[in-house]
């Protein structure tokens, strides 16, 4: 270390550092034009001149390349220094009188007009471009000429091919003089961000996207200057952690596995081949994926709604559906992509929310396929909110000549041809498997179907044709997030079933030293202040904060860290805690939401209870949000450290309780979902109880004949029932009803009563799966129940071989009977496919039969679209009707049926005389309320069970240990029920596979001496954690079941006597922070 005087203050600096570097670290600003941290200092501009006294004489030196020496005295802002700098700037202004950068610089120095002869240059000869070009390993430019003739130029001052168009010179040039286009004729191509769909650029070293795991930068070798020209490596110099290693090589890693899950996802359809849509030629025709990025706060426009061509906010946007879906001629994508209708509505709704001015959104569609849970309600809200829905497939998009808008010509439902101009058009592109999927399939030996999705059967929806290889997500077929997430769990469940014997065999358990008892120790707080590289240190003066921390009560040790979370810092922290006998630790760094678990584990590794840790958030909530005010940020950081230390003085070690797990499951419902779920768990070695209220297993599937792919359901069902009843781990309770439920995750007790016998059984289990299924309504319209030729959908299957059906000359199907109506707004999802499948079967059996399907939107989603196409090819007639104009069914005196419906193409009513009618009646749940209240789980508006998160946790409830699958969750076809059942089993197995479950220590507690048993805590707790117990006769007190407590503390607030409290957040522990915040 070297000690010297800087502006009258004694400072210490590392040997070899320059005056400029030391001054900067002390927040002393020295102006410079030619210095850059990536380059060797050159002392070219001389603006960084300082006054230096070395004990003998005073000199003026350039601070950027003058190393500090012991005893020197440096003045950075003496009068003489400032006079020097002014002269330099005046000369620069004379050289470049018309350059904005130089003019601004001169203004800063108070120079208006130079006294010297004016030139007309724009280059200040700082040499940044020349030096960086050399650093990049290229040397396409250099100084040429001498004296006043000096200039930056290429060899012979002609265009050069040596230039790699990296753009570093242009990027560093302060005056905007140097241009790549003056150096080379090569085309400059920006590196487009894959994540931003090419709407923004990215660097060769980049974090692929904000949620990337691991969230660290990667180097794209194909564009990195180092890998192309051997130069640069600036990133390695600048990285304070020294984490960048350019010598790393790709490694081939061999892993032994027992199962493989393929989850390679989808690639969105490229609409460039639709030439009539002008996607390739017009910037304001974008894909839906591009539009997602435009709407994203982290996207290319920062979440501001604007169109690409001129960054103007659009007033009118059109969405065109089914681009690359439901189209055979242009692109051979005959299937429906399932997700585009819903995402288009979502984009329209969000775009309207983002837009400052009223925004006109129009969605051009063929059938609105919002068949998911609560999707139709969303569609209705969008329509009521003003999003326009136009039923028309638009043929072409014409660019406007006089504006940057686009013109659409379309036909309205009543046959008028309209021409409308939009500011931008979004193409709702479909989902397809990535181009290398065929390669993957060949390598893995799995079959693909004709649309290149992995071939799976309805009864094993996540199993590929190759045993042990499973598939989930869009590789299996086009699907949305909830179903992808669900299938992911299903694939895990299927894989785990086959690997049950190997469970835990590769687990390495982490052990911690025994916990130190700190109860008798005086407080010894250690404070660690993090720089987070430059994230904190560049704004907050970390040394000052660390010095301040030393003055706080009970603080015995303070340390600054570059990265507190790096592995070496963590190891060092463990050592310091032991050496210094610390018994409370405060880390002032980032957010406890991201890093508290890491530091808590560190405490455990050093023998401390993990709750003796406290974190001060001086990055996310300080340096990052006050980056333009270092003084205030530093003061705030001190306050935050003071608050954390005061809280640390009061926090106590907490027990880390765990509860045992009964390795058994209760499955409520013995339909396909319930049975598959029980079987999946049983195959993994867990016991499963199936409780079914009917006298036999099978549920609704007993009434069904074939899947839409043609597989026999009765055959599958009888095999499944045999397997379930024959499995040693499964106990089936028929004719049984749930009476009472108590307990919590890992430890449930359920009483069931057997109908008629009076027998009662008590079951102990660690998890619950609700698979109670659903029913179809019995409608009171369309003569149902009055005329025996009017069937409900499954009744057709039952009457399939009857003479009436066999010999019929005409059949009518009516869709949406009781579904998508004001009193039952949800779509029942399975009926469109069912009716189309039956129509095809009827036509195939008797080609002369006339089959009519009266529908509102044909929702044969996914590859089921093939069936719809086949039906039309076979001559099935589809007639669309509206809710306002429903078909009317009448009968003649002889019982013959008549159906009158308005044909939307003819525009007039037509009458059909079918031999029988099949009604696609709505699916609803029965008795769900009762179960919901037993298990304290919620129901959706449509009375289906409501999972904790519709997208990301599709089979879990907020109540731990309780899961849902099958039609009780929402109407769905058999293959989706099976997948969901496997998913619920996999989720349940994550609990059953543990002997004990750790329970969070931050839970409520009741001081029973203070409790008067008023039950207020029981009332307010959303999780049912407190219960009143009888302490002795007539004396009730509250008790917290810790495994159910989520630590919200509502009971502590509601408690009138102060008996209920929340650990780790007691009144004093919270208020001490308030006091510390205000008392500084």
């Amino acid at each position: 270390m070297v000690t010297f005087t800087l502006n009258g203050r004694q400072v210490e600096a590392e040997e070899g550092s320059t005056i400029l570097q030391v001054a900067e670290s002390h927040n002393i600003k020295i102006p410079t034009l030619c210095n850059h941290k990536a380059l060797e200092p050159a002392g070219l501009c001389r603006l960084c001149t300082v006054e230096l006294f070395d004990g003998r004489r005073t000199r003026f030196v350039t601070s950027c390349n003058y190393p500090v020496r012991k005893g020197i005295e440096v003045k950075t802002d003496s009068e003489e220094v400032i006079r020097h700098r002014k002269m330099i700037v005046e000369l620069l202004l004379a050289r470049c009188p018309n350059n904005d950068f130089v003019k601004n610089l001169a203004a800063e120095f108070g120079i208006e007009a130079p006294r010297f002869k004016l030139g007309d240059d724009h280059c200040i000869l700082c040499g940044l471009c020349v030096r960086v070009c050399e650093r990049m390993g290229i040397r396409a430019i250099d100084f040429s000429g001498r004296g006043t003739e000096t200039e930056v130029a290429t060899p012979f001052k002609v265009f050069t091919d040596a230039c790699a168009t990296c753009g570093a010179c242009e990027f560093l040039c302060p005056t905007g003089y140097i241009k790549v286009s003056d150096i080379t004729r090569k085309e400059v191509r920006p590196i487009l961000s894959e994540f931003d769909e090419g709407l923004a650029g990215r660097k060769p070293i980049y974090v692929p996207y904000a949620q990337a795991i691991p969230n660290i930068p990667a180097i794209d070798r194909s564009v990195c200057s180092h890998f192309i020209n051997k130069g640069c490596k600036i990133c390695a110099d600048i990285c304070p952690a020294g984490a960048i290693d350019h010598t790393q090589q790709d490694e081939e890693v061999e892993i032994e596995v027992g199962a493989v899950v393929l989850a390679t996802g989808f690639k969105s359809f490229d609409p460039s081949q639709y030439d009539t849509y002008n996607y390739a030629h017009h910037p304001n025709v974008v894909t839906s994926m591009e539009f997602e990025r435009i709407l994203s706060a982290g996207g290319p426009f920062g979440g501001h709604l604007m169109r690409p061509s001129d960054h103007k906010e659009p007033r009118k946007i059109a969405w065109l559906q089914c681009v690359g879906s439901r189209a055979i001629n242009p692109c051979d994508k005959g299937y429906c992509s399932s997700v585009c209708c819903m995402y288009a509505i979502k984009e329209a709704v969000i775009a309207r929310e983002h837009s400052k001015e009223p925004l006109d959104c129009a969605i051009f569609f063929m059938d609105m396929r919002t068949h998911g849970k609560e999707f139709d309600q969303y569609y209705n809200r969008a329509r009521e909110g003003g999003v326009r829905f136009v039923r028309c497939r638009v043929h072409s998009i014409d660019p406007m000549v006089e504006s940057e808008g686009l013109q659409l010509r379309y036909v309205t439902e009543d046959g008028r041809v309209e021409t409308e101009e939009f500011d931008m058009v979004v193409l709702s592109v479909g989902l397809q498997t990535p181009p290398d999927v065929a390669d993957l399939a060949e390598k893995m030996g799995i079959e693909l179907d004709h649309y290149k999705f992995a071939r799976t059967g309805s009864f094993a929806p996540v199993s590929t044709s190759s045993p042990g290889i499973y598939v989930c997500g869009a590789l299996q077929g086009p699907k949305d997030i909830p179903f992808s997430v669900m299938e992911a769990s299903a694939a895990a469940g299927a894989a785990a079933s086959g690997l049950a014997r190997a469970r835990h065999s590769l687990v390495k358990e982490k052990t911690f030293p025994e916990e130190r008892d700190v109860s008798a120790e005086p407080l010894r707080i250690g404070v660690f202040v993090c720089n987070c590289g430059i994230n904190i240190g560049a704004v907050v003066r970390v040394p000052e904060v660390a010095d301040y921390a030393k003055t706080l009560p009970n603080v015995v040790y303070v340390q600054e860290n570059l990265f507190s979370c790096s592995q070496d810092a963590i190891e060092q922290l463990i050592g310091v805690i032991k050496q210094q006998d610390l018994n409370r630790v405060v880390v002032a760094s980032c957010s406890p939401r991201t890093h508290e678990p890491l530091f808590q584990e560190t405490l455990r590794s050093s023998g401390l209870n993990k709750y003796l840790f406290e974190q001060a958030n001086i990055r996310d909530q300080c340096s990052w949000v006050h980056s333009n005010d270092p003084d205030a940020a530093t003061e705030k950081a001190k306050d935050l450290v003071r608050m954390a230390v005061s809280r640390a003085s009061l926090i106590e070690p907490l027990p880390m309780p765990s509860v045992s797990v009964t390795p058994a499951a209760l499955v409520v419902g013995g339909g396909v979902a319930g049975m598959v779920c029980a079987l999946t768990m049983a195959q993994q070695g867990f016991k499963a109880h199936i409780v079914e209220e009917k006298e036999r297993l099978g549920g609704q599937a007993l009434k069904l004949n074939k899947t839409w792919k043609g597989e026999s359901i009765p055959e599958y069902l009888s095999k499944l029932i045999d397997e379930v009843t024959g499995h040693e781990n499964i106990e089936v309770h028929l004719n049984a009803k749930l009476k009472e439920v108590s307990g919590f995750i890992g430890n449930f007790k359920t009483t069931i009563a057997l109908n008629g016998t009076g027998e009662v059984r008590e079951l102990e289990h660690g998890v619950v799966v609700l698979a109670t299924g659903a029913h179809s309504i019995k409608p009171d319209e369309y003569l149902y129940g009055k005329n025996d030729r009017v069937f409900r959908w499954h009744e057709l299957d039952e009457a399939w071989e009857s003479d009436l059906v066999k010999n019929a000359g005409s059949a009518v199907f009516i869709q949406c009977v009781g579904s998508r109506e004001p009193e039952r707004p949800h779509c029942s999802k399975i009926c469109c496919t069912f009716s189309v499948q039956k129509a095809v079967e009827l036509k195939k059996r008797n080609p002369d039969i006339d089959v009519y399907i009266l529908y509102r939107d044909m929702r044969t989603y996914g590859e089921r679209e093939d069936l719809y196409r086949e039906a039309r090819a076979l001559g099935v007639i589809f007639i669309r009707y509206d809710l306002e104009n429903k078909p009317v069914v009448t009968e003649t005196e002889g019982g013959a049926l008549k159906v009158t419906v308005t044909d939307p193409i003819l525009g007039r009513p037509i009458t059909l005389e079918p031999d029988f009618i099949t009604l696609a009646t709505a699916i609803y749940t029965r008795g769900a309320e009762e179960l919901a209240s037993l298990f304290k789980v919620p129901l959706s508006q449509d009375n289906f069970f409501l999972e904790v998160h519709m997208k990301l946790r599709p089979v879990d409830f907020a109540v731990d240990g309780v899961f849902v699958c099958g039609m009780a969750h929402f109407p769905k076809p058999i293959e989706e029920s099976i997948a969901q059942a496997q998913a619920a089993a996999a989720r349940a197995a994550t609990i059953l596979a543990q002997k004990r479950i750790d329970v969070e220590g931050v839970v409520s507690t009741v001081d029973q001496a203070l409790c008067r048993g008023c039950g207020k805590c029981v009332e307010v707790c959303p999780y049912g954690a407190p219960e009143l117990i009888e302490l002795r006769e007539g004396v009730k007190v509250s008790q917290i079941r810790e495994a159910m407590c989520k630590g919200c503390g509502a009971c502590a607030v509601a408690c009138p006597t102060g008996a209920a409290a929340i650990r780790h957040f007691t009144d004093t522990q919270v208020l001490t922070m308030v006091e510390a915040a205000l008392g500084g």
Partner: protein, 67 residues
Amino acid sequence: MSGEYEPKIIAFCCNWCAYAGADLAGVSRFQYPPNIRIVRVMCTGRINPNFILKAFQLGADGVLVSG
């Protein structure tokens, strides 16, 4: 009131939403005045009305409960 009046604000933030929101403001590099001091709680259900009164008593000029 002088022009230099700088209020002292105490914010009680729920760990799961508002506190996460404050972190997100940081990640998004939003800039806001440095007058606010955030106290993290696990749920705003934990905020006893007394906390708010206590904060005013200790000299807070404003209290924000967010969750």
